[in-house]
């Protein structure tokens, strides 16, 4: 599980993550929403320990990501935005590399790589260099890499980005199936996705948490309204010059 308290990150004079706090328990699938630039990716990078917070703490499975980064990262499967991978490696070489770095050898390594290749339907492209793959396959390679060690925590930055509707559905199914045993944070721009698989929603605006509730409560804020409109009401400040104040939950 993930315990985030008072995270702050500044880029020069700009406060990109402003006192963000929340918890994610086993079995939760937390949907991270927000306009571009609101601080979603930065928050995820703080939780994985890739960036160092200027204030606050993030504890993953009992490990402080700043004090004990390696132990924390052992428990985390992370899919970064744009699914980075080494372009000149083949899918199999890449997954073998990730498996070895995570400490798996020979039989166990082959078993785990085989498992995620099947789970993410990568068998057809297993010996192709990653740079030759389509966006959809690249995304699934990144997803496979995050699932390889069967981590208790999954942090996924736009996991269905660039996938066609069928692939989106498949990825959501995989997440839904695995989530019973895991704590999952996924960020997305697709509000329907949040309703489809998430049991909690957090909306970031200007680096601050403006909403932290269930999708049902979120929909109930403006009964009958489209999710897009509710979202826009809450985050309008990101577009307009004057930032919106935090809007308290109504019901």
């Amino acid at each position: 599980m993930i315990d985030v308290k008072g995270l702050v990150k500044n880029y020069g004079a700009r406060r990109v993550v402003d006192d963000v706090s929340f918890q994610v328990r086993r079995g939760d699938i937390l949907g991270f929403l927000g306009p571009n630039g609101a601080g979603k990716s930065t928050t995820m990078r703080l939780i994985t320990g890739y960036l160092r917070p200027d204030a606050g703490t993030a504890i993953v499975q009992g490990h402080d990501v700043v004090r004990d980064p390696v132990a924390a990262r052992r428990c985390v499967g992370y899919l970064a935005e744009s699914a980075p991978a080494y372009p000149e490696m083949t899918v199999r070489e890449f997954l073998d590399f990730i498996a070895e770095v995570r400490g798996f050898r020979s039989a166990e390594k082959s078993a785990r790589v085989g498992r995620v290749l099947g789970l993410c339907h990568l068998a057809a492209v297993v010996d192709q260099p990653i740079e030759t793959l389509s966006k959809g396959f690249k995304q699934r390679v990144g997803f496979a890499q995050a699932l390889l060690h069967d981590p208790p925590v999954l942090i996924l930055d736009e996991p269905t980005d660039g996938l066609d509707p069928n692939q989106k559905h498949e990825v959501r199914e995989i997440i839904r199936r695995l989530a019973a045993e895991k704590a999952v944070i996924l960020s997305t721009h697709i509000l329907e996705e949040v309703e489809a698989i998430c049991n909690r929603v957090i909306i970031l605006s200007h680096g601050r948490v403006v909403v932290d509730e269930t999708p049902a409560d979120f929909r109930a804020r403006q009964p009958g309204a489209r999710l897009d409109d509710i979202f826009r009401t809450l985050t309008r400040g990101d577009v307009d010059p004057a930032p919106a104040a935090a809007v308290p939950a109504t019901a």
Partner: protein, 240 residues
């Protein structure tokens, strides 16, 4: 179950996954051996010694070490894989060490590929294999030092070319500090003691004994500590 070995393996094989490695090795061998035969007049000198070959290394590595080292970190930054690497259970030190040794192994392979030169000299004459062995050792150590500098400059930028140029200049400065012509010019202005002290920081000063068959611990320590210093800085730069 250290992650250093997979990182080493990935980086080393990564060189050979693109044509770049083969081009690099070919150009390096052409340059080093070509200079030996055509500029140093290897045959004309009539000496069964590889000294003319090794004499060029101090200068060649100024270009070739950054060429091998420039992709170590700049490419990771540019392709976004730095974020992947540092969200795996790997410390910056392990990543720096793994990548450095992979690049060093690659350069060492390039240097050792000139062994046929040594073998033909053996067939034609009677070279001193002790001197040849120490020369190869010194050359590989020196390449490691230049490479550590280049890896550091690569970590400072996301552009491989900038990394290359920075590495080239840094190595050039180091070599100049020990270059006799430069030293003579400096000696005209500064006290000799200072000039000698500066020369001590240069690979030129420390590589010479190896080419004469002397393995002085002082010189080995120089190369290893220069490399170690740059690798430490490399870790610091990445930990930001």
């Amino acid at each position: 179950m250290s992650p250093i070995l997979p990182i080493f393996k990935r980086e080393f094989l990564g060189y050979f996954r693109t044509p770049v490695a083969y081009v690099f090795l070919a150009v390096f061998l052409l340059a080093s051996v070509g200079l030996t035969f055509f500029v140093s007049q290897f045959f004309k000198a009539g000496n069964a010694s590889l000294a003319p070959y090794f004499a060029w290394h101090t200068w060649l590595f100024i270009f070739f070490a950054p060429a091998a080292g420039m992709r170590l970190w700049a490419e990771e930054r540019r392709s976004g894989t730095l974020e992947l690497l540092f969200t795996l259970p790997v410390t910056p030190l392990q990543a720096v060490v793994g990548k450095f040794f992979a690049a060093w192994a690659f350069l060492a392979a390039g240097i050792l590929l000139s062994l046929p030169l040594a073998l033909t000299t053996e067939w034609l004459g009677d070279p001193d294999w002790g001197v040849i062995a120490t020369s190869y050792l010194g050359s590989i150590l020196m390449a490691g030092a230049y490479l550590a500098v280049s890896a550091l400059t690569s970590a400072l930028t996301r552009n491989q070319v900038v990394g290359f140029v920075l590495g080239l200049f840094a190595n050039l400065v180091l070599v100049f500090l020990g270059w006799s012509v430069f030293n003579a010019a400096l000696a005209a202005v500064f006290p000799q003691a200072l000039v000698d002290a500066l020369a001590n920081f240069s690979p030129t000063t420390h590589f010479d004994p190896f080419t004469k068959g002397i393995v002085d611990p002082k010189d080995v320590v120089f190369f290893l500590s220069l490399a170690g210093f740059c690798l430490c800085l490399n870790v610091l730069v990445l930990e930001r």
